[in-house]
């Protein structure tokens, strides 16, 4: 019995100092790891809350519904509906109509605000509204002389008031908005004339100038980014995959291929702005392609994405077991047959993932695009493809940069909104990568 108890002391249940130390070290390491993960998640949460907190409001916008009388005396003095004469009336000519519309709405709902001038009443409406009216009249000259209901944008300050960006204390100080205008807005809201609704124009409209930030949208930037992604996909994927297959499967392993390999890895590490300078020098100054065009942006981003795709593709090809190649060659397949029938299908998930990661990188890239002029203020939508590739356009990340530069709280809010749109696109691409990978992997 004494023997047995002595045994337990050194048996499986006993722990000596060495084992305790080892266990403590393992426990410590696990805690470090957990802490590292927590820090990462915390950073992500802070980032997301700040972006969402600032940006979600960009997706809502304050509109005012006005019945506006399109006075013939103002818009078509001759009364002959000559389109050229109608076009001569500038947006300034429409401002009084809008002011009259607001005043009419006030009268209709019995709103009276002390100290509110007619100009201030009209001032709660965005300057964009005049352009909206003018476009409507030019498109429908017959509407002149009638009263038409319009949904017009409220001024950015009024919009900001309802989103909590502007308060009464600000209004006392600001020149662009006065407390009486806020009173009017409150009254109009109560009357149901003024509403805040989902802001589709933010996704579809082009950028707008500094004095009407409420009208600024991402339409041109999204289209520009989309065109560039098409260029990148069409160029970088086939070139990258072909280059990788050649290097991995066919090229002799010698000093030249080593050199190429080193260069490709280096290329992946080159700062993106360098690619911008390259693009400026080659595609714009030398090849004479237009500035700000998606084709140039796409070419520059292709150069940037190629190394990523090549490295990912080569890794995917390397991961295919050599025994598969042997098997194919062993039954008398040529090298190309072995690669295309057996190796490539197995590498496809990896190639796809690499390509989409490359595309996502390209989608978020800003610096090289600044250099090739994509930061220009573009209000015209690019045409449909293929001509559209040569029209000036913006890009999503550049639009973010652009809006944050323009020191207007309304635009900063929109910049955060644009970041959300960008993140949503990236999310969609990553989900697509995962789905595609699953799809291909299911074919064992």
């Amino acid at each position: 019995m004494t023997d047995a108890s002595a045994n337990t002391a050194t048996g499986l249940y006993a722990t000596d100092a060495h084992i305790r130390k080892r266990n403590a070290a393992e426990k410590r390491f696990r805690l470090y790891g957990l802490a590292a993960v927590c820090v990462g998640i915390l950073a992500l949460i802070v980032l997301m809350t700040s972006i969402l907190g600032n940006g979600v409001s960009a997706f809502r916008q304050t509109y005012v519904t006005l019945n506006i009388e399109l006075l013939e005396a103002k818009l078509d003095k001759n009364g002959n509906r000559n389109i050229d004469d109608i076009k001569k009336v500038s947006t300034f000519g429409y401002a009084p109509l809008i002011q009259a519309g607001v005043e009419a709405a006030m009268a209709e709902n019995g709103i009276e605000i002390e100290g509110l001038t007619g100009k201030q009443a009209g001032g709660i409406i965005s300057k964009e509204a005049a352009a909206q009216l003018r476009n409507f009249v030019i498109a429908n000259p017959d509407a002149i002389g009638t009263t038409v209901e319009f949904d017009v944008l409220a001024n950015a300050q009024i919009d900001g008031y309802f989103k909590g960006r502007v308060d009464r204390a600000d209004a006392e100080l600001l020149k662009t908005v006065s407390p009486v205008q806020l009173d009017l807005s409150d009254a109009l809201l109560e009357a149901g004339v003024l509403r805040t609704k989902f802001n589709t124009a933010f996704i579809t409209a082009p950028d707008a100038s500094d004095n009407r930030p409420e009208a600024a949208g991402l339409g041109v930037a999204i289209l520009g980014s989309f065109y560039m992604m098409i260029v990148v996909l069409v160029l970088a994927l086939p070139i990258g995959v072909a280059a990788s297959i050649y290097l991995e499967e066919f090229a002799p392993k010698n000093r030249w291929t080593d050199l190429i390999e080193v260069n490709i890895s280096n290329l992946a590490a080159v700062p993106s702005i360098v690619f911008g300078i390259l693009g400026l020098a080659i595609f714009i100054n030398f090849a004479g392609l237009p500035q700000s065009a998606p084709i140039v942006g796409g070419l520059v981003l292709t150069l940037m994405t190629l190394p990523t795709i090549i490295i990912a593709t080569r890794a995917a090809l390397k991961a295919v077991p050599p025994s598969i190649r042997d098997a194919a060659l062993g039954v008398g397949a040529s090298k190309m047959q072995a690669v295309f029938h057996h190796v490539l299908p197995l590498a496809a998930p990896g190639i796809l993932t690499g390509t989409i990661i490359g595309l996502a990188q390209a989608l978020g890239e800003t610096a090289p695009l600044l250099l090739i002029g994509m930061v220009a203020f573009v209000r015209e939508y690019p045409a449909g493809p293929p001509e559209g590739f040569f029209d000036p356009a913006s890009a999503l990340p550049v639009q973010v940069y652009n809006w944050t530069q323009r020191a207007d709280a309304a635009l900063v809010e929109r910049a955060s909104g644009a970041i959300i749109v960008l993140l949503v696109f990236l999310l969609i691409m990553n989900v697509a990568a995962i789905i595609l990978r699953r799809r291909f992997e299911r074919r064992w």
Binding site: P252, K253, P321, S323, I324, R325, D326, A327, A328, L329, G330, V331, G332, A333, S334, K335, Q337, H341, H342, L346, W444
Partner: protein, 265 residues
């Protein structure tokens, strides 16, 4: 090994199918095969035996130029198939491999269906005129690979989902489906149970009627059972080559004797 019947096994004086003369193989600086000369007869099973790492696989891979795929590998010497130098610059190695099929040491089915695994070779060589033809070729090959009964109900299941032994027989079926003239088998039975081994050995014996078969094996009994000629390799050199009966009962070289009696290996 003590089975005396192997003595009585007749060895046809068939014509030489593959003739290797003064063959050397280098992996970079490693000299893996040293001056090996072997004549492999048609319609005969030739066994390569020898301790691990002695170069059996390496030499086997020379015979269908599979070593071409290894960058560091260099082959010198003269290897002739039907009196044509297979390392001649005019020879297309792909065509050569269609004639000289191979079963690898590790089973390596394609990650495709069982049917597609076997049908792949006939498809790329255009051996089948239509679907019915192809079905027939696949069935015949799977029967010869002694695996038909196990897979006939799941031809469209993945080949990689089979057990190791089944995978190896699938690979054998895949190799015979292209109707090669020579079949190189690198330890085809190392992953098989005794019953499947017996089936494969029967297959090898049957293949001998039309083809020349070269088999690498670690099982002396197997070499004695299936082969008519045996080559003993040691440290990259061919020590002894002769009729199987003679090698196993009356080896000339003492290294051969030590190996087959289990003293070196």
């Amino acid at each position: 090994m003590n089975d005396m019947r192997i003595l009585e096994r007749d060895v046809d004086a068939n014509k030489v199918k593959i003739s290797a003369q003064n063959c050397d193989v280098y992996y970079g600086d490693t000299h893996a095969i040293k001056d090996v000369s072997v004549d492999i007869s048609d319609r005969t099973v030739t066994a390569f035996i020898g301790p691990s790492g002695c170069g059996k696989s390496t030499f086997l891979r020379c015979l269908n130029r599979m070593n071409d795929t290894i960058d560091v590998c260099r082959v010198t010497g003269d290897i002739r198939l039907d009196d044509q130098n297979i390392y001649d610059s005019r020879v297309d190695p792909v065509q050569l491999r269609a004639k000289v099929g191979m079963v690898f040491q590790k089973p390596n089915p394609f990650p495709k269906s069982i049917y597609d695994n076997v049908a792949y070779g006939p498809r790329i060589h255009g051996l089948a005129r239509n679907k019915a033809d192809l079905d027939e070729i696949v069935e015949k090959a799977l029967r010869r690979g002694a695996i038909w009964d196990e897979v006939k109900d799941r031809l469209h299941a993945p080949g990689t989902g089979l057990s190791g032994g089944q995978q190896q027989r699938l690979c054998i079926a895949r190799a015979v489906a292209t109707e090669p003239e020579v079949l190189l088998m690198d330890e085809p039975c190392s992953a098989l149970d005794p019953i499947a081994t017996l089936q494969v050995e029967e297959l090898i014996d049957e293949l001998r009627r039309d083809y020349s078969v070269v088999i690498v094996t670690h099982s002396m009994q197997q070499a004695a059972r299936v082969s008519q000629k045996t080559a003993f390799f040691h440290l990259g050199s061919l020590v002894e080559y002769g009729e199987t009966g003679q090698i196993f009962t009356n080896p000339k070289d003492e290294r051969t004797e030590s190996y087959i009696t289990g003293r070196i290996g």
